[in-house]
C-alpha cells in the first residue's frame, strides 16, 4: 500500500440520484429558510384565505365564500412558489455565481433543474397541506376528482416555473425581484384568485381568462367547488404556457 495524503487525487462524481437528492434537499432548505420567501408563500396566502373567508369584503357569489376562495388561494400558492419565489431565488443565485460554481461541479445542469423542480414541489406540498387544513377549519367542503386537481397543479407549476426561470435567466437580479413581485400582485388581483372574474368588464375577461393564473384558479374551482369533470380548456391553456415558458427559458436562460 502506498502512502496517501489528505488530498491525493481520487476524483469521481457521486451517483446521480444521490447528487440530485442532496441538491433538492439543499434548495428546499434555502427556500424555507428565507424569511421574505415565507412571507410570500405561506403568510400572505394564509392571511388572504382567513381574512376574506371571515369578513365579507368581496361578493363571491352563491355559497360559502371559503368554497370560492380555497381553490383560488391554492392557485396563488403555486404562483408564489413556482413563479415568484423561484424567479427571485434563481435570479440571485445567478447574480452571486452560485449557478456558475455549480456548473463546474459534477452535477449536470439538467440535474440542477430537476433538483429545483423537486424543491418547488416539496414546498408546494407543504403549502397545500397547510392551506387545506386552514380552509377545512373554516368550513371548506371540497368536491371533485383528485387526479384532475393534481393535473392542474402540476401543469400550473410547469407553466409558472418556465416563466419564472425565463425572468431569472434573462433579467438582472434586482429587476427580477421587482418584476416578480409586481406580477404576483397583478395576477393576485386580476387572475380570479380572490376577485371573481365576473367582476371585470367582458372585454377584460376574455384576455384575463387566458392568463395561467386564471386557468389554474378557474380549473381548480371548476373541480373543487362545482365537482365538475376534467376542465380540459384550462388544462390546455396551462399546457400552452408551460411549453412556451419552459421552451423560452431553455432557449434564453443565461447562467452568468
Amino acid at each position: 500500500m502506498t502512502a496517501t495524503g489528505t488530498f491525493t487525487p481520487r476524483p469521481g462524481a457521486a451517483p446521480l440520484p444521490r447528487m440530485i437528492r442532496a441538491q433538492a434537499a439543499l434548495e428546499t432548505r434555502m427556500l424555507l429558510r428565507n424569511g421574505e420567501q415565507l412571507l410570500l408563500t405561506v403568510i400572505i396566502p394564509t392571511l388572504l384565505l382567513v381574512l376574506f373567508s371571515a369578513v365579507d369584503i368581496i361578493d363571491t357569489g352563491a355559497g360559502r365564500s371559503v368554497d370560492f376562495l380555497a381553490p383560488g388561494i391554492l392557485a396563488l400558492a403555486v404562483l408564489s412558489t413556482a413563479f415568484t419565489g423561484q424567479a427571485i431565488a434563481t435570479g440571485f443565485e445567478r447574480r452571486y455565481g452560485v449557478l456558475k460554481r455549480l456548473a463546474a461541479s459534477p452535477l449536470p445542469r439538467w440535474g440542477l433543474m430537476t433538483a429545483k423542480t423537486c424543491a418547488v414541489l416539496v414546498t408546494e406540498v407543504l403549502q397545500i397541506a397547510l392551506l387545506t387544513a386552514v380552509a377545512l377549519a373554516l368550513g371548506w367542503s371540497p368536491h371533485g376528482n383528485p387526479a384532475a386537481v393534481a393535473g392542474l397543479l402540476i401543469l400550473g407549476t410547469a407553466a409558472f416555473s418556465g416563466l419564472g426561470l425565463l425572468m431569472a435567466g434573462t433579467l438582472k437580479a434586482e429587476a427580477t425581484l421587482a418584476a416578480a413581485n409586481l406580477v404576483f400582485l397583478l395576477l393576485l388581483v386580476g387572475g380570479g384568485v380572490i376577485v371573481p372574474l365576473a367582476k371585470f368588464p367582458e372585454a377584460a375577461q376574455a384576455v384575463l381568462g387566458l392568463l395561467p393564473i386564471t386557468a389554474l384558479s378557474d380549473g381548480l374551482r371548476t373541480v373543487l367547488q362545482h365537482g365538475a369533470g376534467v376542465p380540459w380548456s384550462d388544462l390546455g391553456i396551462l399546457a400552452v404556457w408551460a411549453v412556451a415558458g419552459l421552451g423560452a427559458a431553455a432557449r434564453f436562460f443565461r447562467w452568468e
Binding site: G5, N34, Y96
Partner: protein
C-alpha cells in the same frame, strides 16, 4: 504515471465583440506542480482560466485539460477538477459547513469535511449565513469547496485576495500540501510574493499573451540585471573599476563613498570587485547584492503596476 501535461493551451484566441481578450496564448501546466499565472488586470488571465474550466468557448486555438476538451468533454472533466471562482459561488443563505458538506456530497471520495473546516479555520463561521461571513471567510470556504472533491487539478482564481496574513499563510500551506499530494494547481494572483513562494512555474501574461515564463528564479535572473552596492573611501576611480568589469556592466558613485555596480551579478563579478578593492587598498564595507524580485521583472516586462 501519465505524462501528458495537466493543461495544454496552444494558440488560444478569445474575442469579446471587437476587443481581443486573449491573443494567441500558449500555456503548458505540468502535472503535480503549482503554476502561477501573473498579469495586470485585463491581461486575459481569468478569460484563459475560464476557458480551461469550460465556461467559455475559444474562438481559435486548442485547449486540453487532463487530455480532454473542456466543453465537449465537460461531463467527464468536471468531477476531476476543482474550481475556486474569484468571488461568490455560494447560496447567500447557506452556512459554511452546510455548503462544504453539500459540495463534498457531490463527489465519490471527498476529503474529510471536519478536517478541512479545521485546517482552514472555518469553524469560526458557526451558523452564520454566507452573506454575513467576512470576505476572508468567504474566500476560504470557496477554496475548501475547490479541493474537497479530491480533484487532480485545481484552478484557484486569486485565492488570497483580501485575506489577513494568518489566513493567507493557511492558504499557502494548503497549496503546498496539494502539491505534496500530487495535485496540479493553476493559480492566478496579483501577489508577486505569492508566486515566488508557491509556484514551480510562472507565466506572465500581458495583452492576452504569455510574455515570459519560467521558474521564479529563472525569471528573476533572466529578465532584469542585478545590482551590487558597497561603501568605501569617497572618490575612488570608477573608470578603473569599470575597466576591470565585464563589458556590459556599469559602475557609479551614487553619493560620496557609496558605489553601485549594475550587471550580471554573480560570483565572478563579486570576486572581480573584491580584488579591485584589494588592489586599491579599499575595504568594501556593507557590500550587498540586490536580487531583483518578480515584481521588478514584471514591471520591466509590462511597464505596469501589478495591482493597478
Amino acid at each position: 504515471m501519465r505524462t501528458e501535461p495537466a493543461v495544454e493551451v496552444v494558440g488560444l484566441v478569445k474575442r469579446y465583440g471587437t476587443k481581443t481578450a486573449v491573443d494567441g496564448l500558449d500555456l503548458t501546466v505540468a502535472r503535480g506542480a503549482v503554476t502561477a499565472v501573473l498579469g495586470p488586470n485585463g491581461a486575459g488571465k481569468t478569460t484563459t482560466v475560464e476557458i480551461c474550466e469550460g465556461y467559455r468557448r475559444a474562438d481559435a486555438g486548442t485547449v486540453r485539460v487532463l487530455g480532454l476538451d473542456p466543453v465537449a468533454d465537460a461531463a467527464a472533466l468536471r468531477p476531476r477538477i476543482g474550481v475556486m471562482l474569484q468571488s461568490g459561488g455560494v447560496y447567500p443563505g447557506a452556512r459554511a459547513d452546510e455548503m462544504l458538506r453539500h459540495t463534498a456530497g457531490l463527489h465519490a471520495h471527498p476529503v474529510d469535511v471536519d478536517l478541512l473546516i479545521e485546517r482552514l479555520g472555518l469553524g469560526s463561521c458557526g451558523r452564520t449565513a454566507y452573506r454575513r461571513l467576512s470576505g476572508g471567510q468567504q474566500q476560504r470556504l470557496a477554496l475548501a469547496m475547490a479541493v474537497v472533491g479530491r480533484p487532480e487539478l485545481v484552478f484557484l482564481d486569486e485565492p488570497t485576495a483580501g485575506l489577513d496574513p494568518q489566513a493567507r499563510r493557511a492558504t499557502w500551506d494548503l497549496v503546498r500540501e496539494l502539491r505534496q499530494d500530487g495535485v496540479s494547481t493553476v493559480l492566478t494572483t496579483h501577489f508577486m510574493d505569492e508566486a515566488e513562494q508557491l509556484a514551480d512555474d510562472v507565466a506572465i501574461i500581458d495583452g492576452g499573451r504569455v510574455i515570459a515564463r519560467g521558474t521564479p528564479e529563472e525569471l528573476c535572473r533572466g529578465g532584469a540585471e542585478n545590482t551590487l552596492r558597497f561603501t568605501g573611501r569617497p572618490g575612488l576611480d570608477v573608470t578603473s573599476l569599470l575597466k576591470a568589469l565585464p563589458a556590459d556592466s556599469a559602475a557609479t558613485e551614487l553619493t560620496p563613498g557609496t558605489y553601485r555596480v549594475d550587471g550580471k551579478v554573480g560570483p565572478q563579478l563579486l570576486a572581480t570587485v573584491a580584488s579591485w578593492c584589494a588592489q586599491h587598498g579599499v575595504m568594501p564595507d556593507a557590500i550587498a547584492v540586490e536580487r531583483h524580485t518578480l515584481e521588478d521583472v514584471f514591471l520591466e516586462l509590462t511597464g505596469k503596476e501589478l495591482r493597478a
